[in-house]
Symmetry: C2
Subunit: 205 residues, 2 copies
């Protein structure tokens, strides 16, 4: 693409580096910004700049937080003896939205993926082990995505924590509520049969 | 969505105001920004801020430009007696990419759309009329999108310019090169029959 202005070129170059946004979409966004009042661009660029400069993470669970400790870790009603291991803040938000979990989280910040250069050191695994050591943790729940990287990470953490007296569990996989068997992929359906659960438990909402 | 941090909330709010980006995608972008080095966010926010602050438009054709006059208007090889009317800079880039046009452009900045509050005054139509008055313009080519707003705008400009001695033309509509008749929509196919062109002309590349 041949741009008539270096300012447009630069903005397109930067925006197109975001995931899922190609150069064509970036140009569309740039033209949208130019059509909006000046303070729209100012607010947007300000929010992006301060986001990265001032973001803080909870000292305990490493979730994004405004304070040194997040709202969940400081909440006296949450059960700190139960830690749910998740990949990032989106997973925390998704589980919180269900209203079904009263324990705390540990945000890893990713999954072990040697191909992408992400090893255990890039994640918050050491902090997790420290937390299990210091606090009276009774249960660790693995809630990473069901991918090869997720399974690798789960297994690595499980090995690291296996010397502690802990209950280990993992979120259940299976057919979504309201889904038809017919349209479920074979892997999920296979797992949901081999990892079947007692009928009485399955009847609980 | 319940955000764990007001910084994240603010960034998501701003990014989600961009066209085609929902709150979920905005959160994905925010998490991506947080995973990148600090200077990535700085470059992005800087490019957005300076874009809107320092953008300039060509005095003649109103295309985006780094200088008071754009590269096309100052190019002595371009035929200034031919003006191609387009909606925005994307259209200029698209036509320039074909390498088939040696005239100049006039960028309207939109189409007349009363429902969206865009009247002739919001566009650069007065500047176009002034240009036709002052310069020795021989031909005006209408190259707006083939929508109701495009047709309205074309007709409005045509009326305004009808007192001048000018050739008026419009880019041809029809079946795309390489397209099958079978898969062409009825309106386009109908137009391409009723507005058929001499066979000799159709054989030119």
């Amino acid at each position: 693409m041949d741009f008539p202005s270096s300012l447009v070129q630069k903005a397109v170059d930067e925006i197109a580096q975001l995931p899922g946004i190609g150069r064509r979409s970036a140009l569309r966004l740039v033209l949208h910004l130019l059509r909006q009042p000046k303070d729209f661009s100012e607010r947007l660029s300000g929010a992006i700049a301060t986001l990265r400069q001032e973001i803080r993470y909870c000292n305990t669970c490493h979730n994004i937080s405004d304070a040194p400790q997040c709202n969940i870790c400081t909440n006296p009603l949450r059960d700190r003896s139960v830690i749910c291991i998740v990949e990032d803040v989106r997973d925390v938000m998704a589980i919180e939205a269900t209203g079904q979990f009263r324990g705390t989280y540990h945000v890893l910040g990713g999954k072990i993926a040697p191909m992408d250069g992400i090893g255990p050191q890039q994640l918050t695994i050491d902090a997790l082990i420290e937390r299990v050591e210091k606090e009276k943790v009774k249960e660790v729940i693995f809630a990473l995505g069901s991918t090869m990287e997720g399974d690798t990470t789960n297994y690595y953490i499980f090995k690291k924590l296996s010397d502690f007296t802990l209950t280990f569990s993992a979120i259940s996989r299976g057919i979504g509520v309201g889904d038809e068997l017919e349209y479920t992929d074979e892997l999920t359906l296979g797992r949901s049969i081999s990892q079947r659960i007692p009928f009485e438990i399955s009847m609980k909402s």
